[in-house]
Amino acid sequence: MDFFNQDLTSLHADLVNKKISAAELAQATLANLKQTDAKVDAFLNLNEDAALKAAQAIDAKGINPANVLAGIPVGVKDNIVTKGLTTTAASKMLENFVPVYDATVVEKMLANDMVIVGKTNMDEFAMGGSTENSAFKVTKNPWDVSRVPGGSSGGSAVAVAAGQVPVAFGSDTGGSIRQPASFNGIVGMKPTYGRVSRWGLIAFGSSLDQIGPMTRTVKDNAAALNLIAGNDVNDGTSSKREVPDFTAGLTGDIKGMKIALPKEYMGDGIDPKVRDVIQAAVKQFEDLGATVEEVSLPNSRYGVSAYYIIASSEASSNLQRFDGIRYGFRAQDVKNLEDVYVRSRSEGFGDEVKRRIMLGTFSLSAGYYDAYFHKAGQVRTMIINDFNKVFEDYDLIIGPTAPTPAFKIGDEISDPVTMYMNDVLTIPVNLAGLPGMSIPAGFADGMPVGLQLIGKSFDESTLYKAGYAFEQATDFHQATPDLGGAH
């Protein structure tokens, strides 16, 4: 079965009323998934036997009527470690890597009776915006299979958009949840830095990375964030703040809400058809009783440069651990230890990962540190100050998630600078550690366009509240891609 006409609430009701068992649901999900994945290639690795066993155990125990996620099939991005289930980060480096522990978010999924059906494709080590950097397969956009799904969480986005699973989890370092959510017409939340434990997330940019949910509706997304949020003793950066019930404020009433629209987010670099969609969204919010006013984030234009210095520097450090010794790929016919390091890394990493390691190593090297790494850290402060100033007067910020709809497979992959500019609207949010969410806001030439909502630190609730009101007033989230099925 697909999930085009069901949400968590209706699925949960079916499970509680025994209209379908968790085992039947897992079976039907996997059957449909295998069929549709021949067209979209969203998954790297299925968890078929373990999923069915887990679902049977859940049936034996009974579905907890208070847990809307019990028995629900879920896809997990392949940079989130799963005990006993191969986890590759879409890299040849980790092609045969079997983790010995579960990420904290995975522990929470399993403890709450979610059924992990497989691991989703991504850009290698989450570096990229098209999922073309996977060492294993190219995921296709279900709205037009000649186009990219975005990235790096392209597999998770497609899994939801193609109706394969009702929920998937991704990670977002510079836009890797929100941009593919935008390209696929689904809801993707990057929570506040520290809201969700990063324990078991294969590290890329440790001051930027967050795990977040990808779903078809805002309410489902809020329920999924409820599951994974909270402090974790294994992640010293996870916040001890109280976690609210993110589904609580979904009333549809946003009268009097003060919304800011940064003029830099509607400038020349933005596809006019995307701008039209966002203008219509602005009107929609005004019709709902919110006020929308233009503001400025003057330093956001420097975000891409600052980000690629900071994220690459952190990556160059984080990826030192891949040395061909304890786990991962080791080159053949090596003569000595130095050879193991250099040849294993050179043969095991793909080009984009090498580019980022090189950029980071360069930015941190003697003679360049001040001009690049130090400077980027200062610009990061200025970007944060811009946001703080706007949030003195407004409840949230809206704008496009990405400058364009999904582009063609192969179009941008050989031009790193063009590819990096896709992140221009999402990156500032990671640099500031703020929550950001993309929701379906319309179409441009038949391809989905996402609206980005940016909130105050730890105020995901306002994003969900506003997103829900918009969703109730529109029907973009109900549109489904034609995969050759009866939709």
Partner: protein, 106 residues
Amino acid sequence: MAEERINAEQVKHVAELAKLEFTPDQLATFTGQLEKIIGMFEELSTVDTTGVPVTSQVNDRRNALREDVAVKSDESERKALLANAPETANGLIKVPAIIDESGDGE
């Protein structure tokens, strides 16, 4: 800023620091791409950051400490860990000699 942002010699040096190696063709491609990306970075030099502090993290906690307690792994965990190592011997991870053992002149 220098006229030439980065040349093949520098790229080679950075590759050595990063424990990566490139063929001459790859080196040429990477040098061209890095030149372009670092060229983009140079827009930062136009930003006046006098007196602006550096942000290196956006965490709301400071010094998250816990007790330093050893957690014992069982035999199956040890086996699972070692199964990920490219080469093992007698329950240990095996690596090639640190010094080239192939003799002089290979």
